[in-house]
């Protein structure tokens, strides 16, 4: 009895050939090819991979926090306070005996939540306002841009403080406050791109085909603006993380005993001279993640921005 031999084309060879094929037979394949070529350009840049690696590490840390944390991040142990980094406590313990490494690991969830929610609120809102204002012009443009001006005229942290003061402290309000300060620059950016694109012949062509303004904005103008928005919001991530850390530092973001990195940094201040690791560890975590997003944003700009050569 012989087993029936199955001859499949090796999956890798088939996929790669499909991605590099000269003759394209579907829109899906065309898009996949474009993504693949973009990925190849992206991955040829070592800094890009470092940035991406850091961001991926953040996500992994957040997702698998329960598995990689060595202790319960909320478990206090007053006889194990202020211990320096050791084999038992990799990053030491804080003033209530909680393991700092575990708090950083769980704190990654909060950082990731802040980053994702702010991006998901600010980017689409800014994109929508910017493209509508830029394309429709007239009083719509004036009204929307004055709204943007109002938000832009406040420094980010001050505006966030004002919102938190009005809405009350807590992580959700902090995220909302930060998102409200993050969307106006995106709107300005989207509007500027829309103003350039609006005069293009391909927009005139689709108007001639009978497209409505809404269709033009969503299907034709937004796709042109999206790469710039992605780049801008990625580069803004560092600032967003720092603003959140600042709010946490001031006690206005996540409330204790939440392991938010900014709050950890704030309480660690008091112990800086004697037990430097309370402040340094969350500080380094903030630094690394901000750096990661900056590198990623720069690399995305090189890949997505057709003007950069």
């Amino acid at each position: 009895m012989t087993a029936e031999a199955r001859t499949d084309a090796p999956a890798n060879g088939g996929l790669r050939a499909w991605l590099l094929a000269d003759t394209v037979t579907s829109t899906g394949q065309a898009r996949a090819q474009k993504l693949y070529l973009g990925w190849r350009r992206f991955s040829s840049n070592p800094l890009a991979l470092i940035g991406l690696g850091i961001v991926v590490a953040l996500v992994m840390l957040a997702v698998f926090a329960p598995l990689v944390a060595t202790h319960d991040p909320f478990a206090q142990s007053l006889d194990r306070r202020l211990l320096p980094p050791s084999a038992a406590h990799w990053l030491g313990t804080d003033e209530l005996g909680r393991d700092i490494w575990s708090r950083i690991a769980y704190g990654a969830r909060i950082t990731l939540l802040i980053v994702l929610l702010v991006a998901l609120i600010a980017a689409p809102l800014g994109l929508l306002v910017g493209t509508v204002a830029g394309y429709l012009g007239g009083w719509v443009d004036v009204a929307l841009m004055r709204l943007v001006d109002v938000f832009l005229s406040f420094p980010g942290l001050i505006l966030a403080l004002a919102f938190v003061a009005a809405l009350g402290s807590g992580l959700e309000n902090a995220i909302l406050a930060i998102a409200l300060t993050a969307w106006p620059p995106i709107a300005r950016l989207a509007r500027a791109e829309t103003l350039t694109v609006r005069r293009a012949d391909y927009i005139a062509a689709v108007r001639l085909a009978g497209a409505s303004d809404l269709r033009i904005i969503v299907r034709h103008i937004m796709p042109i603006c999206i790469p710039s928005v992605i780049i801008r919001i990625t580069l803004n991530m560092a600032g967003i993380i720092l603003t959140a850390a600042g709010l946490g530092f001031l006690g206005l973001g996540a409330q204790p005993p939440s392991p938010e990195w900014g709050a950890m940094l704030s309480t660690g201040r008091a112990y800086m001279l004697g037990s430097w690791w309370l402040a340094a560890m969350p500080g380094i975590a903030i630094l690394i993640v901000s750096l990661g997003f900056n590198l990623l944003g720069d690399a995305l700009r090189d890949v997505l921005d057709p003007r950069a050569s």
């Binding site: 037979t25 394949q29 689709v206 001639l208 085909a209």
Partner: protein, 265 residues
């Protein structure tokens, strides 16, 4: 005597306000018969492209009257017009959406009008413009200038319009590609019995494609003449003669005349 297919009366287009007011088109009237190729020739800023944009309602702030096939052109968005008049633009590198494949670009008009024979129409127009099916899923940056212009023509044909407005369709193309596209436009016009209004600054292109031509300067039509008259040098206006002779290339005999045309500092 049949009614003209296209009738333009007293068309006026103004840009700007007050001190910056420009009369881009200043009272233009002409007729085009069905199946005719009508040329608009002039130098930059004479208003010829602006006329196309007004006729197609891309630009809606004009006065006067324009009628196509007896139907007046509205000064607002009118999707029904898309199935009557379409346009081919000058710059092949700017007339296709950079992020849409050829397929998507051709499907867009079909989707907008909710037609259900999209695949058949796309096959037909791609064959008409001489592009093989291999081009369907390509992005514009993967196509040459001539190929892009073919896609632009295909897109203009997909809703089966009756009038095509051609805004310097070959000015941005290489000489050898220009010949192919001009031949293609001639073939398509015969096959689909279309009417063309062709804008160009190139007298050679005008002479090759058009039946009649209007010469424009500073927003007005100086004269209308048949192409036969043009080629025989039977023009009435000095400006027309100047353009005609200039298109023959540089000539030392034109020195004296060019002195008069010097731009005042």
């Amino acid at each position: 005597m049949s009614l003209p297919f296209i009738s333009v009366r007293g068309l006026r287009v103004r840009f700007g306000r007050g001190a910056n007011l420009i009369h881009a088109v200043d009272g233009v009237s002409f007729d085009v018969a069905e199946g005719e190729v009508f040329g608009l020739v002039g130098e930059s800023g004479c208003g010829k492209s602006t006329i196309l944009r007004a006729i197609s309602a891309l630009h809606t702030e004009w006065t006067g009257s324009v009628a196509i096939g007896g139907r007046p052109v509205a000064r607002r968005r009118d999707p029904a017009m898309a199935r009557i008049v379409q346009m081919v633009f000058q710059d092949p590198y700017g007339s296709l959406h950079p992020k849409h494949t050829v397929e998507t670009a051709l499907m867009e008009p079909i989707r907008i009008h909710g037609l259900d024979d999209g695949a058949r129409r796309i096959d037909r127009v791609l064959t008409e413009v001489g592009l093989s099916p291999a081009f369907r899923y390509r992005y514009p940056h993967q196509l040459s200038g001539g190929q892009r212009q073919r896609v632009a023509i295909a897109r203009a044909l997909i809703l089966a319009p009756r009038l095509l407005l051609l805004d310097e369709p070959t000015s941005a193309l290489d000489v050898s590609v220009q010949a192919e596209i001009l031949n293609l436009l001639s073939d398509i016009r015969r096959m689909e019995n279309l009417t063309y209004i062709l804008v160009s600054h190139d007298f050679g292109v005008i002479a090759h494609m058009c039946d009649r031509v209007a010469v424009m300067n500073h927003g007005v039509i100086l004269e209308e003449l048949t192409v036969e008259d043009l080629m025989q040098g039977r023009m009435r206006h000095d400006y027309t003669r100047e353009l005609y002779e200039a298109s023959a290339g540089y000539s030392r005999r034109l020195r004296a005349r060019a002195e008069d045309a010097d731009i005042a500092a």
